[in-house]
């Protein structure tokens, strides 16, 4: 596997925190250049120049961290293109500094709470899909709430659920309930219909936002197929 391929794979582990999808499949990696010496230059592009600066920063910072973790990489430059706050964000990312240093006086803390809020939304959305799939396959509310993590099929949603639960410090070992509320407790069969109704709305919201972002990115930059990312 070439270094370029591994850099692309590393970028594939970076999620848009708001949409809970990898930046590579969203088409946000506009270009990625890797030199023989191991210097990497990544350019990110977003659906609009006004995309929220906090999420834009997180994606750029996460992209830089993910690529830097590869031992063969000597240096990394991540640049956010065509964005209203691109100059501020790019300067902070280049210095390896926090979001707050990009916008002096315009923040009240760090981005940890924002990231956690959206990890919780993502977890709920993914669990909705896991739950719906179980019900579609013939499970009843009683049997769904009795499932354990170890019982779940090896689907992308279930894998992501486990990762999000781990990131949030919520129970995620094989014996833990397959579906949990925000506090980590299992659900009851009686709770399930309303919990699912709300969770499905969160899922729809994330999916619809992802759809609109893709559409706007396509209008802005033309074809944004994943294959183009690697060029």
């Amino acid at each position: 596997m070439s270094l370029k391929s591994r850099v692309i794979a590393a970028l594939g582990t970076v999620y848009d925190p708001e949409l809970d999808e990898p930046i590579t499949t969203l088409g946000f990696v506009g270009s990625c250049v890797v030199t023989a010496e191991g210097d990497v230059s990544v350019r990110l592009r977003l659906p609009t120049p006004q995309c929220a600066p906090n999420f834009a920063y997180l994606m750029a910072a996460d992209a830089r961290s993910a690529v830097r973790r590869l031992p063969e990489v000597r240096g990394v430059t991540v640049v956010l293109e065509d964005h209203y706050t691109g100059a501020e964000i790019n300067a902070a990312i280049g210095r390896g500094e926090e979001f707050a240093s990009a916008f002096p006086g315009e923040t009240a803390g760090d981005l940890d709470a924002l990231r956690e809020l959206f990890q919780r939304k993502a977890l709920l959305a993914r669990q909705a899909r896991v739950c719906q799939r179980l019900l579609d396959d013939g499970a009843t509310p009683e049997t769904v709430v009795a499932r354990r993590v170890a019982d779940l099929p090896d689907t992308p949603d279930a894998v992501r659920v486990a990762a999000l639960r781990a990131a949030l410090g919520l129970p995620h070992d094989g014996d833990a309930p397959a579906l949990i509320a925000g506090d980590g407790a299992g659900l009851t069969a009686a709770d399930l219909p309303m919990w699912l109704r709300r969770a499905k709305l969160v899922s729809l919201s994330l999916e619809a936002n992802g759809g609109m972002c893709r559409d706007l990115l396509r209008v802005r930059y033309g074809n944004t197929d994943e294959e183009e990312v690697a060029s």
Binding site: P47, N54, V202
Partner: protein
């Protein structure tokens, strides 16, 4: 006015613009933002049907004649112009109240002019709001919380500085607040699209002010729905839902409409074209022709019948703006019951 299957529909477009985003109006030194803003809007237009797309030049500045043809020529009976300033980027404003008012001479019988306010302008802003109200008799305001102002990139409705403005609106009977969330706010490390500030003030001003959340809080439709279901004075403004999803993502559109009908209900949803981002015609026709698919995936959602469409396309917003709707467009039961007739004009 539209007619379909023998039924007549009164069309009230509660969210449209008459803007000037041409290069002549760009603030020196802020061209990047002025250009980026209108190009972003233009990209949104790209989510509509191809035969409704405009050239960028036309989109930057359109004429009174274009407005007349695209809006009233398309069957809109009454429309609300939403004033959006953005004076850090556009010298005369993107569409300030005076620019919008230039249309009143010609279409005063069919246009309602909304003002705006910004809590960061303090006493001067409050005085300006009173002046605008004295001049135009405002019934509503557009609130754009992501506007940049002297180094600040946004505000929240719960900011202490906003309270005198909300009080003033309640006092003057400027009762309809069209809230539009955008991507920036203070502090920048919080979620700018969060609608909990609307939740707070909706509770505090229940019975005095209505909050029409434009774009139904997109991209936070879930937060919006959970909030709107509890607040009697919070409404779902459908701009962007129809324009941005109906053509580009019809399956999402079905589901988003289903969720709104379930959580918010057809009595609190109002049509807005967001013209000139999208022309009203295809959106109105699309809504009139839209049916929730008869498919298992949509079995959880309420259905929308002809009366529900009447409410969303016209009657709900007419009620908010005290516009008397002619008998022939009202819902038959309502029309038969004088006690249920909508309020008087004024």
């Amino acid at each position: 006015m539209y007619e379909k299957d023998g039924e007549k529909y009164y069309i009230f477009d509660s969210h449209l613009h008459f803007w000037d985003a041409s290069p002549d109006n760009w603030v020196k030194g802020a061209e990047e933002y002025a250009k980026g803003w209108i190009e972003c809007f233009h990209a949104y237009q790209g989510l509509g049907p191809a035969d409704t797309h405009w050239s960028l030049e036309h989109f930057q500045k359109y004429s009174v004649e274009d407005f007349e043809k695209d809006v009233f020529g398309a069957g809109v009976d009454k429309a609300v112009l939403q004033s959006t300033y953005l004076k850090e980027w556009y010298t005369n404003g993107f569409n300030d109240i005076d620019q919008n008012a230039s249309l009143l001479d010609r279409f005063g019988d069919r246009l309602i002019l909304n003002g705006r306010w910004d809590p960061r302008e303090g006493t001067a802003g409050l005085e300006q709001l009173e002046k605008d109200h004295a001049q135009y008799g405002l019934k509503g305001c557009k609130l754009y919380t992501a506007e940049w102002y002297k180094g600040s990139r946004g505000w929240k409705l719960t900011d202490p500085e906003a309270i005198p403005f909300l009080d003033k609106c309640a006092e003057l009977g400027i009762k309809n607040m069209h809230v539009h969330k955008g991507p920036t706010i203070w502090p920048l490390d919080k979620d700018a699209f969060d609608v909990s500030d609307v939740d707070h003030v909706a509770t505090d001003y229940n019975g005095k002010l209505n909050f029409i959340v434009e774009h139904v809080g997109l991209p936070r439709i879930e937060d919006f729905c959970f909030m709107a279901t509890q607040e009697p004075n919070v409404y779902a403004g459908l701009s962007v839902v129809v324009g941005g999803l109906m053509h580009a993502r019809p399956q999402f559109f079905n589901k988003v409409m289903g969720e709104l009908l379930f959580w918010v209900g057809e009595d609190k949803m109002t049509f807005g074209s967001d013209y000139a981002i999208w022309e009203p015609k295809w959106q109105i026709e699309g809504l009139l022709n839209w049916e929730m698919p008869d498919d298992l995936a949509y079995s959880d959602y309420p259905r929308l019948d002809a009366n529900g469409k009447r409410k969303i396309l016209g009657l709900n917003a007419a009620k908010l703006y005290d516009v008397e709707v002619p008998q022939e467009f009202r819902i038959p039961e309502e029309a038969a019951d004088p006690a249920a007739a909508v309020g008087v004009e004024g």
